[in-house]
Amino acid sequence: MKIAVSILVSGLFIVTGIAWIQRTIPTHPIHFIVPKGWPKPLYDFSKNPITKEGFELGRKLFYDVRLSKDGQFSCASCHQQFAAFSTFDHPLSHGFNNQQTSRNAPSLQNLAWQQNFMADGGITHLDLQPLAPITAENEMAETIQNVLKKLKSDKTYQSMFRAAFGKETINTQGLGKALSQFMLLLVSNHSKYDKVMRGEDSFLLAEKLGYQIFQTKCISCHPAPFFTDFQYRNAGLPLNDYLKDYGRLKITNNAIDSLLFRVPSLRNIALTAPYGHDGRFTSLINLFDHYRKQMVLGPTTDSLFKNRLPLSNFEIGQLRAFLHTLTDTLFTKDPRFADPLYNKLLDPNHLH
């Protein structure tokens, strides 16, 4: 009898224990809102549904310098919110051991509608994108194993991974999915341009004229709502002898792709200088001068630029005014996307 009871009790004990370990903690879904008139996102949310828990985990990871080898660089080091998640005022960004990146850090916005990543389109899934800067020797220079080791030894991450994905395992997939959840919500659609289109605001005269010029001269490569067609084009930027970056060619090994780079989005352009895939244009004026005068026409230069892009001084002025309407300060100041530690500092409960 004694034995039977003790078997029963220990059995119950084990079953309860297993059930406790396996229990699913409810997550809080976040509905991804597609702005009115925008196309269907390309990201497959069914494989990685966004939750409050996953988003907050991704946000913590995005701002965590431990993702780098020497603890000096987080994703946010090169993707700064106030610069629409590009690197403010840097042609190239800083990386491990006083090195520089080989390309200008792009702004991070509206990523749910983008299929391929990097200026050469080499990365085909948003979840995979963070692995490149984490492991690149001139960026964060860390191994995936070490990153996971650091996360696994941290109690906060243990509970955050469990809350987000319902299991103890901290693995590469969870890392990528959490970071995607954070990045997917980086939607910029509250610029003055957007408000004008929604009838909530109106353009000043210069902006209106600039918009008209934009529609005749720029829109074929930079169509709304993303202000990029996501295609690869050679806009007449000659090869930099030091970087020797042939762009899309590196991915396709096809000569017709030599010096082709993805058309960048113009959203928040006033915040993302310098410009060009290697940041060679320090200001918008430099950029306009390139298009109208300095463009080098080579065998792969886009056919749209057969006659370069003639722009008068007057047109440049109006275009500038219009491009500034693409700045979305609601996005660059959105507290949801800020460093979680920074938010805590602002919390009145923490002010003494």
Partner: protein
């Protein structure tokens, strides 16, 4: 009365394990044995390849996926979504244990590499986790097979040779289907596969280390190496 008897819990756990152990009784063991010619591969040891090039192999690993066991009655028993990373540094990885088919096996089929679907669907887990170093982070896709080492013939820094072979897109598809017929007198419980690294250098064509010490991306050279190493497998005589 003592409620928590620690021996009782131990016994219960043991019974559970015995139960699990009984389930998979009939097993088929497929093992991979790495050679350079007729010399068993020893990592970090000097060896000579088919062209007489002295070399030290430091890393040798490759993906075996989507196994199919074909029995004498022509039936194909497929193991979809089965991915194995065979790694010389991990002796456990060099054996695959499968349930034994009812009939004698006439041939074995698998792909050397990772099917395109898995290359395109985000971060995978298990053998396909990118942390195994068999993934190009800058140019999405798996490295199907990796052979690294040093050879005086390699005109590179530290005389290193590094072959990272992969590619799944049109025009650079390096996925190889391997078919290995099994002799009648072979055991259907224990299949031993000889893997000869010399095939990398002299399979379909001659690719000595001296000519091409480095291949790090999908493309023409990767395809030539894949065509070569597709011939590295043979069934060992019992």
């Amino acid at each position: 009365m003592r409620i928590f008897n620690k021996y009782m819990i131990l016994r219960l756990v043991l019974v559970c394990f015995m139960f699990l152990g009984n389930k998979a009784d009939k097993k088929l063991l497929i093992s991979f044995h790495h050679f350079i010619g007729n010399q068993p591969l020893v990592l970090n040891d000097t060896a000579t390849n088919i062209f007489g090039e002295k070399m030290v192999v430091r890393k040798f690993k490759y993906y075996v996926a989507n196994l199919v066991i074909i029995t004498v009655d022509g039936k194909r028993q497929t193991l979809p979504n089965s991915y194995f990373l065979i790694d010389e540094t991990d002796s456990l990885s060099k054996s695959i244990v499968l349930p034994q088919p009812n009939k004698a096996i006439s041939s074995l089929e698998f792909i050397l590499g990772v099917d395109s679907l898995r290359n395109c669907s985000g971060i995978q887990t298990g053998a396909l986790d990118p942390l195994h170093g068999m993934f190009w982070t800058w140019n999405t896709g798996y490295i199907f097979a990796k052979l690294e080492g040093n050879a005086p013939a390699a005109q590179t820094a530290a005389n290193g040779f590094t072959f990272h072979i992969g590619g799944f897109k049109k025009g650079e598809n390096a996925i190889k289907t391997i078919q290995l017929p099994i002799q009648e007198n072979n055991s259907s419980k224990d299949i031993q596969i000889k893997v000869d690294i010399n095939a990398w250098f002299n399979g379909k064509e001659a690719l000595p280390i001296a000519n091409n010490p480095i291949c790090h991306s999908p493309g023409k050279l990767a395809l030539r190496f894949a065509n070569n190493y597709a011939q590295m497998f043979t069934i060992m005589k019992p």
